[in-house]
């Protein structure tokens, strides 16, 4: 029987790492390219998932919120809500709670009377009921919400963005804002309300004071309704007729959580774009590895010739370079996954989102790295294996 060449799998692996061990800096830099690309991919997937989880959590909390607002006539004028609207809506059995706000047009909210009236900062003035924080499930960041005293005295609570625009971060007994010609004591600041961004940019006062100073009456412009989560469509279907029995089309019924759904879809589109960019980075890194491997084959002609002289078959030489390329990419991939996970955690913490790394992200990263490494090594490996041994040994 003719003797045969044989390379044990463990030796193939060891031979495959020869180049990596001999040229450490070059290998590290090549792997770094893959690591950065994989880290970008994992981080994009992780950050998207964290953000999605946050939005889904929000959707879960806010999905059962409905609003009824004033409609518009044909000539663009608002059609006011009937004064009985809130009471009627509150009687629908699945309705858990309601709260109403009333827009006060033409009033400016400024830090002091020295600020010109045209500098409105886009802050609206609204009358609100005490039930607003509980119905909207919002947190009070500073101070307290409007209480019974606010019905008689000029007190206000600022929305999150309004407080930032006015430069108010901390509250003291002297914190005031200038609203429509008089100073109001700021008694509280609300947290962001994702489903009601109009609250974020408003200064809220009581309906009592609004009526006293601006003749608002008790007529709201928008009613927020928290309903049984299982009955949302059913309640939405009857809201128009309940709020305005005489002319249901005069009121606008909305589900604010639709905004969250739209944001989720928009995020999906961005994730696709960033994943595309990450894939391009991976491709570039792969080309880098292929380039390094081609150079390596040229530099190591003598080693290839020696191995062929020692009995290596063509496929042993091909496997050596293919394995080297794949290992380079996998090492880069593993490091990249680690970096990507760290970046995801950091991004989620900064954005205040829960950390969520989909299991598919590291797995896909590893497979992508392996694939890129194998593809990048294919041509150099073939080239190395086809090198005639005698020619390879005549290198020097």
């Amino acid at each position: 029987m003719r003797p045969r060449s044989r390379l044990r799998p463990s030796d193939a692996l060891s031979v495959g790492t020869v180049g990596l061990r001999a040229r450490r800096i070059r290998s590290t830099l090549s792997a770094l390219g893959i690591a950065i690309a994989i880290a970008a991919l994992v981080a994009v997937l992780g950050a998207a998932e964290s953000s999605k989880k946050h939005l889904l959590d929000e959707l879960g909390q806010q999905g059962n919120l409905l609003t009824v607002g004033t409609g518009q006539t044909f000539d663009g004028n608002p059609t006011p809500l009937p004064p009985t609207a809130q009471t009627m809506i509150a009687r629908i059995p699945p309705v858990l709670s309601t709260t109403a706000v009333g827009n006060i047009d033409g009033a400016t909210v400024r830090r002091t009377d020295r600020i010109p009236p045209e500098n409105t900062n886009g802050i609206n003035l609204m009358a609100a009921q005490v039930s607003l924080p509980s119905t909207l499930s919002t947190r009070i960041l500073r101070g307290a919400f409007l209480g019974p005293l606010a019905e008689r005295y000029p007190e206000t609570v600022l929305g999150y963005s309004a407080a930032r625009s006015l430069g108010i971060d901390k509250l003291t007994a002297q914190t005031q804002v200038f609203i429509a010609g008089r100073y109001f004591a700021v008694v509280g600041i609300l947290d962001q309300v994702s489903v009601a961004p109009e609250i974020d940019t408003s200064a809220l006062i009581s309906f009592g004071i609004a009526d006293q100073l601006f003749d608002l009456g008790d007529v709201p412009t928008r009613i927020y309704i928290r309903v049984d989560p299982d009955q949302v469509p059913a309640v939405a279907a009857v809201l128009g007729a309940t709020a305005s029995p005489e002319s249901p089309p005069d009121v606008q019924v909305q589900r604010p959580s639709d905004v969250i759904l739209a944001r989720l879809q928009a995020k999906g589109a961005f994730v696709g774009l960033f994943l595309g960019l990450g894939a391009i980075a991976l491709l570039v890194a792969g080309v880098g590895i292929a380039n390094i491997m081609v150079i390596s084959v040229l530099e190591r002609r003598a080693e290839i010739g020696l191995r062929r002289a020692l009995g290596a078959r063509r496929r042993d030489v091909a496997a050596q370079f293919l394995l080297e390329s794949a290992l380079l990419a996998v090492i880069g991939g593993v490091v990249g996954i680690g970096l990507g996970c760290l970046a995801t955690v950091a991004a989620a913490r900064l954005a205040g989102n829960p950390v969520a790394i989909p299991l598919q992200a590291p797995l896909a990263g590893l497979i992508a790295a392996l694939l890129v490494g194998a593809l990048a090594g294919l041509y150099p490996a073939t080239r190395a294996s086809r090198l005639p041994p005698a020619d390879a040994l005549r290198t020097l």
Partner: protein, 230 residues
């Protein structure tokens, strides 16, 4: 007894653009345990002849038999097997792997036989002892002198106890003293290594003198064979 090497009308012409005839009707037989020096001027075809003897290159015509087996019908993979089991090579440039230790370099000579690591290391240790480098096993090639590096290369060629050892200008990169040591080592292999056949290429007459038989090449043809047996 079957000869170790048998060449019949071997010729080698390189294809265009060079179209050089490196060997022409080369015909000789090397018996087992023989030590042969192939001499000749630069360009005489020595290196091509050694490549063909070592199955690193195929002849354009004629037949090459190694231990009685015709290699012309063998596939590339089968020729790799012949090299792994029957032939040991020693090169002028040593071709040691810098990042491996001396012991690992020698053990590499058995990697393509599928031998387990522990056994490879055991054989490599013995081979290093035979070439007098037992104390240098953990060193890196760069820490050794030229003569020592060539002895490591010889140990790598001998680690699998091949039937044939082919050496291409083994003293070419060495000073006279180290060159003598290497030649003496190769010349005594037939006594110490169960009759290893040694074929070496040299243009140095002193080196050739240490071998039993001298074959002289000129323009790809044998012009003198001190031990021609037909």
């Amino acid at each position: 007894m079957t000869p170790a090497l048998e060449l019949r009308n071997v010729s080698k012409t390189y294809p265009p653009p060079t179209t050089v005839t490196a060997l022409c009707d080369v015909d000789f037989t090397v018996q087992r345990g023989e030590t042969v020096a192939i001499t000749g001027a630069s360009g005489a075809g020595k290196s091509t002849l050694l490549s063909i003897l070592g199955t690193l290159e195929r002849p354009s015509g004629g037949t090459v038999r190694i231990a009685g087996t015709d290699t012309s019908t063998m596939s590339d993979t089968q020729l790799s097997g012949v090299r792994a089991w029957h032939i040991g090579f020693v090169f002028q440039q040593f071709f040691l792997l810098d990042h491996l230790s001396v012991l690992e370099n020698v053990a590499t000579g058995l990697v393509y036989r599928g031998v387990a690591t522990s056994i490879r290391r055991e054989h490599a240790t013995q081979a290093l002892e035979r070439v007098g480098l037992a104390g240098r096993m953990r060193h890196r090639p760069a820490q050794l002198s030229g003569g020592e590096q060539q002895r490591v290369a010889i140990a790598r060629a001998l680690v699998g106890r091949p039937a044939v050892l082919l050496a291409d200008e083994p003293t070419g990169n060495l000073d006279t003293a180290n060159g003598h040591e290497i030649v003496n080592l190769l010349a005594t292999l037939r006594e110490t290594d169960e009759g290893t056949t040694v074929v070496l290429i040299t243009h140095n007459n002193d080196v050739a003198a240490a071998m039993e038989r001298k074959i002289q090449l000129q323009d790809g043809r044998i012009v003198h064979d001190s031990g021609a047996t037909g």
